[in-house]
Structure formats: structure tokens, C-alpha cells
Symmetry: C2
Subunit: 223 residues, 2 copies
């Protein structure tokens, strides 16, 4: 899956601006700084972007793309909520890890977006949250996930993946596919009940037995 | 557990400055803004703080406090890695949720810290990471946790909790204790192998939680 086309000067301007906006803030970065940092002229920059604000606004694109990809996947009919959640986590983690700097720049400089775009970014984020929550809620209803608070679980997952933008630096020795699978595995183990892939919603006997075992263990621990 | 004393004007200045630094950035906030926002005079502010930078530096205090609390806990001898990780998650989540705005301000304005403090903040964060990783690694060695990459697990946990600073707003209808327990439950389920609680002799709370979850599941199945 290709997440972002970064080739060419246009992509380099976006990446370098993101880096500078994070390091020096949006206000602390000029078009001159961006040009100097890339070893090009201001004119080269103005060929692609009207001004600094347009660069920042373009950088919010990843948020909307993620939102669309997640929404598309969440809207598909699904037989298996575990598989559906796996796919949402894969999409989200891949966007963050594919371009951590771009992902971070929004969080750091949201205040400088125009009011209209600010509202759109907030709506896109809210939609991603709602999509995660719905899939988790559905999985709980189907007995595929433990009965946790679906909203908190959605926020935990989004937080876990988003934070990677703060610590992951692209590194061939640490390919993103391994990390994506780590996130998927972490999330599914957190939500799927022990032995739960086999458990149907009607397995009352299994539950009673599990509770009995847990109580017996507790009794033993206390004596 | 008391995490931060926030009473008095001094605490109010810190909280209001944090809010303004996040909203308008450190450069976009003046001592006048802080005074006006609190309905006090500049002199009132200068009674407590030499300048704006001193306020920001004071706000990094939470990072160091968290670091010390985590380090103290991680250095204690432990019979049970599950219990030890539970306690680390509790401490960390409580600091973030007790004052989400203060926690966020550092991430947003780190660039404005003096070089010396910047190095110290980075070291404190690194220490927290190392402490989480060690406890997880030890738990894997003892067979209490699944054999995951301990470093990735530490980052996932820190990210999940840290991100709460972006979405949690203090709300009596959503007390932090419930969220802290949600995080603990999410993390332990992610890491403890299915049926693995039987290996941990001291985790009575985990057992109670498991029983409660099972009963909730059963109730849901029956309705």
C-alpha cells in the first residue's frame, strides 16, 4: 500500500517544512528558512506554494486521507469484527509510521490553521474515533471482544499508534511492518477474551467455569 | 495519592499559562495575557515568577516528578512482575490524567526550554521508558508476560497513557480512577498470556476484574 507520494521537490518542501515547523514552530519558520534548508531559492518554493500557510494546510492532508481510508474500511460489511479491527489498526499505524514527522506537525501547529480547516481537521479526527469505536462496539456485541468501554478502547488504540509519530524515526533496521504487526497483536490480545476466538456469545458454561477457576485461585492465594 | 498541589495563585498561574501556551504557543503568549486571563496584575505574576520562561520551566516539573515516582517503584524489589507493571501504569496514567493540560504543554513547547533543561527532560523521558521496558522484560523472563518486544510494549503503553492528555478533560462524570483501571486492564490483557494469571500469586485485583468481566459478558449474553 502506498501511503504518500513524496518524490520531487514538492514533497521535499512538505517534508522539510514539517520538520522546521516542529523544531521552530510555524511562527518561527520563514519561507527563506525552508528554501535555505533545501538549498533552493524562494522562487522554487513559491512555484509550488502561495505561502507558508498553504504548506501547513497541505500537510493536514494526511489526516484527511487516513480518515477516508478508515471510513471506507469501517463501512464495509464485515463477518469478523476481529479482522475488521485488525485492518483499522493496520491502516492507522501505517499512515503514522510512514511519515511520522508530517503526522506530528499538525498536533504541534493546529493553532495556525484557518478556522474552516481547523473545524474540518477536528471532524476528521472525530470520525476516525467513531469508526474505531463502532467496530469495537460491534465486536463486543458479537462476543468477539471483552465488554470494555468501546470509546476508551478506541482512544487507547489511537493514542498508542499516534504516539509513534513522536518516537519512530524511519530506519531500515526497524521496518514499519514489524511495528504494525506489534500494534495489531497488542490490541487484539488486549480485547479478545482469553480463549475468546473460539467462544460464542452463548458459551455460558465456559464463562461459569472460568469464574469458578478464578475464585478457586483467589481462595488459594488468600489462604 | 496526591499528584500536584494546585491551590493558590501560584498554581493558577501555572495552569493558566499552560492553557495559553498550548492555545497560542509560548511565543504568542505574554505575561500580560496571563495576568489578564486570571484577572490579576503583572506584578502579581512577577511575585511568583521571574519571567515567562521560568513558568514554562516550572511546568516541566511534572515530567521529573513522574520520572522519580516511576524510578522509585521500578527500583523496588518485586515478587510479581504483573503487579509491578500494574503499579507503573497506575502512576503514569494518574499523572497524565490529573493534569492533562500541564502534561501537553511540554510536548508543544519543548523547543523553548533552555538547552540544559531540554537535555534533562529528554533524560527523564528516557528513564521512564527504560523503567517500563525493564519491568516488562523481567516479566517476559519470568513467563508472566508473552514474549513481545519489551521496548515496543513500553512505547505502546507510554503512548496510550500520554495521548490521554490530548483527549481527557477533567469531568466529575468521568472520574480518572475508572480510566486508570481501564488502562491497567488493557495493558495486562495485552501482555499476560491467556490463562497466565494463574502464574501470578499476588494479582487478586486482576482476578476480581476478570470475574467481573466474565459476569458482565454473561449478563450481556443472557439479555
Amino acid at each position: 500500500m502506498t501511503v504518500a507520494v513524496k518524490n520531487g521537490l514538492r514533497g521535499q518542501i512538505l517534508d522539510e517544512s514539517a520538520r522546521l515547523f516542529i523544531e521552530h514552530g510555524f511562527n518561527g519558520t520563514t519561507i527563506n528558512d525552508i528554501a535555505a534548508s533545501l538549498g533552493v531559492t524562494r522562487t522554487n518554493i513559491y512555484y509550488y506554494f502561495k505561502d507558508k500557510k498553504e504548506i501547513l494546510e497541505e500537510l493536514t492532508g494526511d489526516i484527511f486521507m487516513t480518515g477516508r481510508m478508515i471510513a471506507k474500511k469501517a463501512a464495509e460489511p464485515r463477518a469478523d469484527p476481529v479482522l475488521a479491527l485488525r485492518e483499522l489498526v493496520e491502516i492507522f499505524a501505517r499512515v503514522v509510521l510512514s511519515n511520522p514527522v508530517r503526522y506530528r506537525v499538525i498536533e504541534r501547529n493546529e493553532g495556525y490553521l484557518g478556522p474552516e480547516l481547523k473545524v474540518k481537521v477536528a471532524a476528521a479526527k472525530k470520525k476516525v474515533f467513531n469508526d474505531f469505536r463502532s467496530v469495537i462496539q460491534e465486536g463486543i456485541g458479537a462476543g468477539a471482544f471483552r465488554p470494555v468501554d468501546a470509546g476508551s478502547a478506541a482512544l487507547a488504540i489511537i493514542g498508542m499508534c499516534s504516539w509513534a509519530a513522536w518516537w519512530y524515526h524511519p530506519d531500515p533496521k526497524r521496518p514499519i511492518d514489524g511495528l504494525i504487526q506489534f500494534f495489531v497483536d497488542f490490541v487484539l490480545n488486549a480485547l479478545v477474551p482469553a480463549g475468546g476466538r473460539r467462544r460464542s456469545r452463548l458459551d455460558a458454561r465456559g464463562i461459569i467455569e472460568n469464574v469458578r477457576n478464578e475464585l478457586a485461585f483467589l481462595e488459594k492465594a488468600l489462604s
